[in-house]
C-alpha cells in the first residue's frame, strides 16, 4: 500500500499540488484522473521520487520516503516498475536488451537466467518473437507492451503507469488496460495508473482519485462515478455525448 500524506508541491512559488492525502491499495488498480494541467502527472512523479515534495510525506508499506537516505531510496526504486507515457524504451537497445536492462543493473543473475526471465516477461505481454527488434521497428502498442515487460522484469511491488493509452487506438488501449489489470491481480502489486481515458476508468478503475486544480477533489470506485453529483467530476468525466448517454442510462 502507498499512503500519500498531506503532500504539496511548488514550482517557482506556484502551488501545483495542494495538501493531497490518499492511499493506493495493494492488488487494485488505483487510477488518478484529471484534466491536462491538473497536476496528476506531478503527483505521480512525486510518488515515484522524480520530483521532491515540499510538504507532507509518502509511505510505502509504512516506510517514509522523506526519512529515507539516498541508498534506501535507491533500494526502494528497485521495487518499482514504471510505464512512461511514450514507453521510454532505450532506443539504442533491442527489445531483449531493454527488458534485460533492470536485471543487469540490479541483480547478479547470469546471462542464461536473465534471458529466461526476459523471455518469460515477453511471453507475459504476448511478444514472444520480438527479442531482436529495436524500438524504432515497433508499433505504439508493442512499445507499451515491451515497456510493461521491462517494468515487471524485477518482480516489482509497485507498478506506475503514466497515461498508458495515450496515442493508442481503442482496441490496443483495451489490450494494455487488460494487461495492467491481469498483472496487478496476478502479482498482487500496488498499481497506480495516471489517465484521462474514460474507457480505462470504466474498465479497470478499482479506485479512482480525481485531481482538480492541484487538489484531490473526489475519490471513489468506477461505479461511484456514475452516481456522483460532484459537478467538476461530472464535467470532466461526462464531457462527451457518449459518456453523457452512459450516465443517463445508468441513472
Amino acid at each position: 500500500m502507498i499512503e500519500v500524506d498531506h503532500i504539496s508541491k511548488y514550482f517557482d512559488g506556484n502551488r501545483v499540488l495542494q495538501d493531497i492525502t490518499t492511499r493506493f491499495v495493494r492488488g487494485k488498480n488505483n487510477l488518478i484522473i484529471g484534466q491536462s494541467g491538473s497536476g496528476k502527472t506531478v503527483l505521480l512523479k512525486c510518488i515515484i521520487g522524480l520530483y521532491a515534495i515540499d510538504e507532507g510525506d509518502i509511505l510505502f508499506e509504512k516506510r517514509s520516503l522523506m526519512e529515507m537516505d539516498p541508498e534506501s531510496r535507491k533500494s526502494l526504486r528497485k521495487e518499482f516498475g514504471t510505464l512512461f507515457q511514450g514507453g521510454a524504451l532505450f532506443s539504442s537497445l533491442s527489445v531483449e536488451e531493454n527488458v534485460m536492462f533492470p536485471l543487469t543493473m540490479n541483480t547478479d543473475m547470469g546471462r542464461e537466467e536473465k534471458l529466461e526471465r526476459v523471455n518469460f516477461c515477453l511471453r507475459r505481454v504476448k511478444l514472444e518473437n520480438a527479442n531482436k527488434l529495436y524500438p524504432s521497428q515497433l508499433s505504439g502498442g508493442m512499445i507499451k507492451r515491451v515497456a510493461i515487460a521491462r517494468a515487471i522484469s524485477l518482480n516489482p511491488k509497485y507498478l506506475f503507469c503514466d497515461e498508458p493509452n495515450s496515442g493508442l487506438d481503442p482496441s490496443t488501449a483495451n489490450v494494455i488496460d487488460k494487461l495492467i489489470n491481469e498483472i496487478t491481480e496476478e502479482y498482487q502489486i500496488t498499481t497506480i495508473v495516471n489517465t484521462h481515458d474514460m474507457n480505462s476508468v470504466m474498465e479497470i478503475g478499482d479506485q479512482v482519485a480525481f485531481i482538480y486544480e492541484g487538489q484531490l477533489w473526489w475519490e471513489g470506485s468506477r461505479d461511484d462515478i456514475l452516481h456522483s453529483d460532484n459537478r467538476e467530476l461530472n464535467d470532466f468525466v461526462f464531457a462527451t455525448e457518449l459518456t453523457k448517454k452512459l450516465k443517463h442510462k445508468s441513472a
Binding site: 528497485k78 514504471t82 536492462f101 543493473m105
Partner: protein, 247 residues
C-alpha cells in the same frame, strides 16, 4: 548571476558523474562502445583535415620563408612546430567539439525529453554516471591517440605537397622535422588534448542532461554544447599555454 548558476549546475552534475560505477563490467563495456563512437568514427574526418592542414601549413611556411638567408629545412621545422603545438591539438579538438559534442548533447537531450533518463533513474541507476562517465573516459583515452595520428598525417601531408610542388626537397623537409626536437612539445600537445577531451564530453553531456521540452530544445542544447565547448577550449588553450610554455 546566470553564469554562476550554470557553473553550480555543472559542478553538481560532475559530482553525480564522478561516482563509483555500480557495475564495473558494464562501465567497461560502455567505455569500449564509446571509444568506437567518439574515436574511431572520427578517424576519417580527423585524417582528411590533418592531411590538408599539414599541406597548407607547409605552403604557408615556404611562402613566408622565401629568403636565401634562412635554410630550406626551416620549412619542415616550422611546420612540425605549428602542427604539434597548435594545429593538431587545438584545431582538431575544435572540430571534435562540433562533431562529438553535438552528437553527445543531442543523444542525451533526446533521452531526457523522451523520459529515458527518468526511466533509468527509476530503475535505481545513476544516469549521469552510467551515460556520461564512459564518454569522458573514452574521449580522454582515444583523443590523444587521434591527435598523434593527426600530427603524423599532417606532417605527411606537408611532405607530399612540399616535395611535389618543389617548395622543399624531401631531404630538407625531413631534416627540418628532425631538428631541435623536444619530446616536451608532444607532451604539451597531449596534455592539452586530454583537457579538451574532458571539456567537450562533460560540457556537451551537461547541456544534453539539462534539456527540457522537445525536439527544438534538443537542437538548442546541441548548439549551446558546441559553442560553450569551443569557447572553453580556446580559454583553456590560453591558460595551458601560459602554464606549460612560459619559462
Amino acid at each position: 548571476m546566470k553564469i554562476f548558476s550554470q557553473l553550480g549546475g555543472y559542478l553538481l552534475f560532475m559530482r553525480q558523474v564522478f561516482t563509483r560505477p555500480d557495475k564495473f563490467r558494464i562501465f567497461h563495456q560502455q567505455t569500449v562502445k564509446e571509444v568506437e563512437s567518439i574515436g574511431l568514427e572520427s578517424l576519417w574526418i580527423v585524417s582528411i583535415i590533418s592531411i590538408f592542414m599539414g599541406a597548407v601549413a607547409t605552403i604557408q611556411m615556404a611562402f613566408n620563408i622565401d629568403t636565401p638567408l634562412i635554410p630550406k629545412y626551416t620549412i619542415g621545422f616550422a611546420t612540425r612546430q605549428t602542427i604539434i603545438l597548435e594545429f593538431s591539438p587545438t584545431m582538431i579538438s575544435l572540430i571534435l567539439a562540433g562533431k562529438v559534442g553535438s552528437k553527445i548533447a543531442s543523444e542525451i537531450g533526446t533521452m531526457r525529453v523522451t523520459e529515458q533518463i527518468d526511466a533509468m533513474e527509476i530503475m535505481g541507476v545513476n544516469p549521469a554516471n552510467y551515460l556520461i562517465l564512459p564518454k569522458i573516459a573514452a574521449a580522454v583515452f582515444i583523443n590523444p591517440i587521434l591527435i598523434i595520428i593527426s600530427i603524423v598525417l599532417a606532417l605527411f601531408g606537408g611532405w607530399i605537397v612540399g616535395t611535389t610542388t618543389n617548395l622543399v626537397t624531401s631531404t630538407d623537409y625531413i631534416l627540418g622535422l628532425r631538428s631541435w626536437y623536444q619530446s616536451f612539445d608532444v607532451f604539451y600537445a597531449l596534455i592539452k588534448t586530454v583537457v579538451f577531451a574532458f571539456l567537450i564530453t562533460s560540457i556537451s553531456g551537461y547541456y544534453g542532461y539539462i534539456t527540457r521540452g522537445g525536439a527544438e530544445d534538443v537542437g538548442k542544447a546541441s548548439t549551446k554544447a558546441v559553442v560553450q565547448s569551443s569557447i572553453f577550449i580556446i580559454l583553456f588553450n590560453l591558460i595551458l599555454t601560459q602554464l606549460l610554455l612560459n619559462d
